[in-house]
Subunit: 404 residues, 2 copies
C-alpha cells in the first residue's frame, strides 16, 4: 500500500467539502448558489476573440504567447497592474514586486509555501474562505480564528491572538469578505497594517472583490497603509476578467519576491503566457473600464433581486448581509435550522444548492450550522427568484416541522 | 526580519542555477543552447488563431473557455490523451486516471506533494533534470543518484539503492533523457516496472520527449509494463504543442488520483480552461499528426547540423550523444576543461550559452564539471553553426592554455 504524505490528513474535511461543491455544480437541474463565479454573461468572449485574431500571428505576439515565459510573468501585464490597479488604490509597487500566478489562490499558496513550517500558525477570520484554508492545511499550518463583527475582523482580537499564538501570517479578506460580504472599516485597515510592523508578522490581504462595487464609497486597502513591507497583497483576475484564464497576482517586498520566485519555479515554472498575452492586450487596449461597468451592472441587478427575494421568501427571523459589492451574501436562518443537514434535501428534492455555513469556520464547534453562503454572481435574476423561492420553501417547511 | 520556511534552504543551489539560466536567456546577442524549448517556428500560431476565431463565441465554447472548470481538467482533452497518446503506447487509462496540470512539471510537483514527507528519499538518475530536483527539494525530499550507462539508468544500481534507502519514488526520464539524450532499453523498462510492485515503490516516469523521435524505433513506456499501478506517468504538451499554454498531464491509479485532486485544488484549483479548450479543439480537429511531423522535421535538421558541427568545431577528445529524438545532446569535453568556470566567459566574451553539466548531478562531488547540455530545439541551423563554432573556439582556446 502506497503511503501518502502526513500533511494530507489535515485536509480531509475541507477537501471533502470541496468535492461536494463541485459535484453539486454538475447537476444541470440544480440552481446553484454555491459557486463563486462571476456572471458568465459578463465574460469578454467577443473581445478576446478579436484580440486573438489580431495578436495570434507570427508577425504579432503569437510566438511569444505560445513559447516559455519568465517566472514573474510578462512585463506589460505587470505594468498595467502597477499603473491601473494598484496606484489608484494607493499602493506604490514596482513590477519587480508583482508576480503573476494561476489565479488568486496560487498567490496564497506561493506565499505560505515560502513562509510556513508545519505547525506554524496562521490567523484567519471567523468565518473565512474555505479554499484558502485548504491551502494553509496542505502546507501544514494551524489555523486560529479571529472574531468578526459587522465592520469586519475585530483588531483587538487579532492582537490578542498574535500575542498568544505568535503567528507567521494574518489572513484577511477586508473588502466584500468571503463568505459574509462584509467590509472592514477604514480605521481598522490602518490598525491592521500597523500590527504587521509592530509584531513583525505578515498581513496577507486577499482582495479579489473590491473592483466589484455596486454601492458605497471605495476604501483603501490595508497595503496602502503599510510602510514596513509587512503586508502582502494578493489578487485575482477571476472575478473581474475571466476565471478560465486562471490569472492572479501577488505583491510583496523584495525579500519575499525572491522566495516566491523559487517556489513558483519549482511548482509550475510560470503562468500561461498565452493567457497573459491575451489579458494584457485586453487591458492595454482600454477595454477594461466598460467591461467592468457592464459586469458591475449585471451583478448589481442580481444583488438587488436576491436581497428582495430573501426578504420575501425566507422565514421570519432570517438575517442576511446587504453587501456593497462582491458576489455573496451570508444568511443566518432561525436557530433551529441546520444548514449542513438540510443541504442534501435541498439538492435532491428542491434542486437548489448553497454552501453550508459550517465549512467556513476553521474552529469547528458547530459554528455556522444555521448559516449559509449564497452567491448571486453567476445566477440569472429569473433563477435567483426561482432558487430563493425553493430554498425559502424548504426553510419554511423546517420551521413547521419544529413547531409540530 | 521575516523568517522563511526551513525547506527553502535546501533549494538555494539549484534555484540560483535556474535564475542564471533565465538571465542568460534575456541577452538577445547570446546564442543560447541552454533552454529546453521546442522550435518556435514549429508553434501552431496560425491554427490556434483560426480555432480561437471559431470557438471563442458565446454560441460555441467561449463561455466554457473563460469560466471556472473542473479540477481534473476538461473531459475531451483527457479523452484525446487516453485514446491517441496513451493507448498507442500500450497504456490503458480511463479519463478518471488522467489529470491536466500546468505543464509537465506540475505533475511531478503534485505527485511529490501527495507522497513525500520531509526527509523521504527519491531516487533520481545521475545526471537528471534540474527543474525536477528543484521540485523534490522544495518538498523536502532527499535525492539519491543512480548510475547510468549508454542504455539509460542501470537497473541493478536502482535495486541496490531501493534496498539501502527505502525510497518513496524512483524518478526516471527513459526516452531521450534530459540532460543526456539517452534512451532506456526495452529490457530495462520491463525490469523497472517490476521493481515498482516488488518493492511497493512508485516509479515516476517522465515522458515529455518520446513523440519527438527523428530516427530509430519507438519503445513502449515503463507504464505499459506496469500491472500493479505502481508506475505514475507524467507528460507535457510543452515540447509537442506549445510551452506557453502550460499544459501537461499525469496518469496514476485511483488512490493516487484522489490525492492529486486534493493537492491540485489547494494549489491553483484547476488548469486554465481557455488553454485546455484551444488545445482540445486543436487535437480533435486532427491537426496534430501534420503538426508533429513538421516539428520533428525541423528538429531532425537541427540535430543533424549540431552533430556535424560538434564533430567539426569541438576539440579532439570531445564525446557527445547522438540522440534519436528530443531536444538535447550531452557533451563531454576533454578532462581539464571546467564547464562551470567556462560559462561566464562563454556568455560574456563569446556570446554563447549552455547549461554546465555540474548542475544536473544531485550528488555533487565535482561530477559533470567537464560536461555540458546543449539544446538544438529552438536554435536555427545558422545559429547552431555560429554558436557551436564560437563554443568550439572557446574550448580550443582552453586546451591551448593548458598545453602552454
Amino acid at each position: 500500500m502506497t503511503k501518502f504524505a502526513k500533511r494530507l490528513k489535515g485536509m480531509e474535511k475541507s477537501a471533502a467539502i470541496v468535492r461536494n461543491i463541485f459535484n453539486g455544480m454538475n447537476d444541470p437541474e440544480i440552481i446553484s448558489f454555491g459557486g463563486g463565479a462571476p456572471a458568465k454573461e459578463g465574460l469578454p468572449v467577443d473581445i478576446l476573440r478579436e484580440i486573438a485574431n489580431e495578436v495570434m500571428r507570427k508577425e504579432s505576439r503569437g510566438m511569444e504567447a505560445l513559447q516559455y515565459g519568465g517566472v514573474m510573468g510578462i512585463k506589460d501585464l505587470r505594468e498595467f497592474i502597477a499603473r491601473e490597479l494598484l496606484a489608484p488604490k494607493g499602493i506604490d509597487a514596482k513590477i519587480e514586486n508583482i508576480m503573476i500566478g494561476n489565479g488568486g489562490l496560487e498567490g496564497l499558496y506561493l506565499l505560505c509555501r515560502s513562509l510556513i513550517n508545519p505547525g506554524d500558525v496562521i490567523l484567519v477570520e471567523s468565518p473565512t474562505f474555505v479554499h484558502a484554508v485548504e491551502v494553509f492545511e496542505l502546507i501544514g499550518a494551524k489555523c486560529v480564528a479571529c472574531e468578526m463583527d459587522d465592520n469586519g475582523v475585530i483588531v483587538e482580537n487579532v492582537e490578542v491572538n498574535i500575542k498568544q499564538y505568535n503567528p507567521k501570517i494574518i489572513y484577511t479578506i477586508p473588502t466584500f469578505h468571503n463568505p459574509t460580504g462584509k467590509t472592514l472599516s477604514q480605521a481598522r485597515r490602518k490598525r491592521m497594517a500597523a500590527l504587521g510592523s509592530k509584531y513583525d508578522v505578515i498581513i496577507l490581504e486577499d482582495d479579489p472583490y473590491s473592483e466589484l462595487r455596486y454601492s458605497g464609497e471605495a476604501l483603501k486597502p490595508i497595503k496602502a497603509f503599510d510602510k514596513s513591507g509587512h503586508t502582502v497583497f494578493a489578487n485575482s483576475f477571476s472575478k473581474i476578467f475571466s476565471p478560465g484564464t486562471r490569472l492572479g497576482y501577488i505583491v510583496g517586498n523584495n525579500e519575499i519576491m525572491k522566495h516566491l520566485f523559487d517556489v513558483k519555479t519549482a511548482t509550475n515554472s510560470h503562468t500561461s503566457t498565452l493567457c497573459q498575452v491575451l489579458a494584457s492586450e485586453f487591458f492595454d487596449r482600454g477595454y477594461f473600464p466598460d467591461h467592468l461597468k457592464n459586469l458591475c451592472d449585471i451583478h448589481r441587478r442580481r444583488r438587488g433581486v436576491m436581497m428582495a427575494c430573501l426578504d420575501k421568501y425566507f422565514p421570519e427571523g432570517t438575517k442576511h448581509t446587504y453587501p456593497d459589492g462582491g458576489l455573496f451574501t451570508w444568511v443566518d436562518l432561525p436557530n433551529k435550522i441546520d444548514t449542513t443537514e438540510m443541504l442534501e434535501e435541498a439538492e435532491r428534492d428542491y434542486k437548489v444548492s448553497y454552501l453550508a455555513g459550517e465549512c467556513f469556520f476553521t474552529e469547528g464547534g458547530g459554528k455556522g450550522r444555521n448559516s449559509m453562503r449564497i452567491s448571486f454572481g453567476n445566477v440569472t435574476t429569473e433563477k435567483i427568484k426561482e432558487g430563493t423561492e425553493r430554498l425559502g420553501a424548504l426553510a419554511q417547511s423546517k420551521i413547521k416541522q419544529f413547531s409540530k
